[in-house]
């Protein structure tokens, strides 16, 4: 025990050094790291904590990077044989970090609409957390992610059945921000089931509660949701006001996902005002941002929306092109399992002189907007 301890305390990093080591690691591309992970203190819990924290903060900025880095870290740690001389992990730490890395990889996959992959990471994460000390909080955080995944799959009944217990759990753990995040899922369920006014009231509440908690991140997501609903109703003044509040906040947080969704909302607003070319331009900006972040599902969803707009403008050949760009992504990511019929009808209609517009709209209706 003594020999190990000497090494442990010799290797301990200050919090500034640990953060610096994490930033150094992330500045080196994965393919250039070779077998030098230890040089970045990747085997040192004091360096791993800030590393995972930094990655968590990048989920709304670079989900693809988070997925790759979390997987890299997970694979590294998985190979580390527990109990070797000089090992720096104490008690449950190796298992905890494996659970946290798997959860992060899963969240990033969820944001990127890689749902099956996300589910596999969440299962792995749970298996590690179950063997840690005091796992209740981490398992609750994992439950939230699973409910977010179900929300994206439009399984609202299942989500609403579990949410109250999860909110109660977070409150009992004094995790107020996570309890509030659950309300976003409730709001999305309301919105996607046509209860838009109720959703609007709910997101106004989340705005107030986010401000009370001092959570800029959740305030930003509240604005994104509010804007989308105001835009749907064509409430120009309210939508514009929300956009003005949201944009600098989201920029400050480097929340590129949120900013793209604001653009999307502005596209909807312009469309509701009958400004088709301006709406298409706003949608294109959102689409470009989503493409840069690697959110292919959202890129595909916007192709469908733009196709619908182009049909309004009498530009059917361009609309066909948009649909043809979207369909392979929808099929590859298995994005609309419940919309297979609409997908098939739309595909068939591409062979016909006239596009099946109802199938196009039905298909787009199966795309939920993801938040928080």
């Amino acid at each position: 025990m003594s020999e190990g301890n000497v090494r442990r305390f010799h290797r301990r990093l200050s919090s500034e050094e640990a953060k610096f080591a994490a930033e150094c690691l992330l500045s080196v591309p994965i393919e250039e790291r070779g077998g030098k992970a230890q040089d970045f203190y990747l085997d040192d819990p004091d360096a791993i904590l800030p590393l995972l924290g930094i990655l968590r903060g990048k989920l709304d900025t670079s989900p693809s990077l988070v997925r790759d880095e979390a997987e890299y870290f997970y694979r590294f740690l998985e190979k580390e044989v527990p109990g070797l001389p000089g090992e720096l992990f104490l008690f449950d730490e190796r298992n905890y970090f494996l659970g946290d890395a798997a959860r992060l990889a899963g969240i990033a996959c969820r944001v990127l609409s890689r749902r099956e992959e996300a589910r596999r990471w969440f299962d792995l994460s749970e298996s590690w957390f179950l063997t840690t000390i005091d796992p209740a909080k981490n398992l609750s955080l994992l439950s939230y992610q699973r409910l977010a995944l179900l929300t994206e799959e439009r399984r609202f009944e299942e989500v609403l059945r579990v949410l109250p217990q999860l909110i109660a759990a977070f409150k009992s753990f004094e995790m107020a921000e996570d309890a509030l995040k659950c309300r976003f899922l409730e709001g999305q369920a309301l919105r996607e089931t046509g209860q838009l006014r109720e959703a609007l009231v709910l997101f106004r509440e989340t705005c107030r509660e986010s401000q009370a908690l001092g959570s800029g991140k959740l305030l930003g997501w509240s604005y994104v949701n509010l804007l989308q609903i105001h835009a749907f109703f064509g409430e120009v003044e309210e939508a514009f006001q929300v956009a003005c509040e949201a944009t600098p906040l989201l920029r400050g947080l480097e929340n590129r996902v949120g900013l793209a969704k604001i653009q999307w909302g502005l596209g909807t607003l312009l469309r509701s005002e009958g400004k088709l070319s301006e709406a298409i331009e706003a949608y294109r900006m959102a689409q470009k941002e989503f493409a840069e972040i690697g959110m292919s599902a959202d890129v595909a969803a916007i192709h469908l929306v733009v196709a619908d707009l182009l049909l309004d403008a009498g530009q059917e050949p361009q609309a066909r092109w948009e649909i043809q760009a979207a369909l392979p992504v929808i099929e590859e990511f298995k994005l609309v399992p419940e919309g297979v019929a609409a997908l098939s009808l739309l595909r068939q209609s591409l062979q016909n002189p006239r596009l099946n517009r109802q199938a196009l709209r039905d298909l787009h209706g199966y795309f939920p907007d993801r938040d928080a």
């Binding site: 025990m1 003594s2 020999e3 190990g4 301890n5 442990r8 305390f9 301990r12 819990p45 004091d46 904590l49 924290g53 968590r56 527990p82 109990g83 070797l84 001389p85 000089g86 090992e87 992990f89 104490l90 008690f91 449950d92 730490e93 190796r94 298992n95 905890y96 494996l98 946290d100 298996s127 590690w128 179950l130 063997t131 840690t132 000390i133 005091d134 909080k137 981490n138 609750s140 955080l141 753990f173 004094e174 995790m175 996570d178």
Partner: protein, 106 residues
Amino acid sequence: MDIRRGGRDREIALVFVGTFRHLRPVLSRYELSAQELREFRLDLFVWFRRFARRPGNEVAPASSFEGALSVAARKGIDSYHRWKEANRGSSDEGQGPEPPKPEDGH
């Protein structure tokens, strides 16, 4: 130095000291030497500080971690004891390997 961080570190240290005092009767059953006990206490303290920084724990009152600390201490000392018993022969020859960490559930 961040004043809030300093306050948090102090809160964690106080909870640790208070909880560890209650754990002494349990730990004494394992007949550790003074040095072993000192080293175990240090390991436990380092773990506890990092535990308090895990997501979900950063803002919770440190007093809410007393139970987790007790569990970690009991599991840790038990695992060390089992390792020591299993390696008694090789330790006598001065070649004792590093003790295994508990919780290697996979």
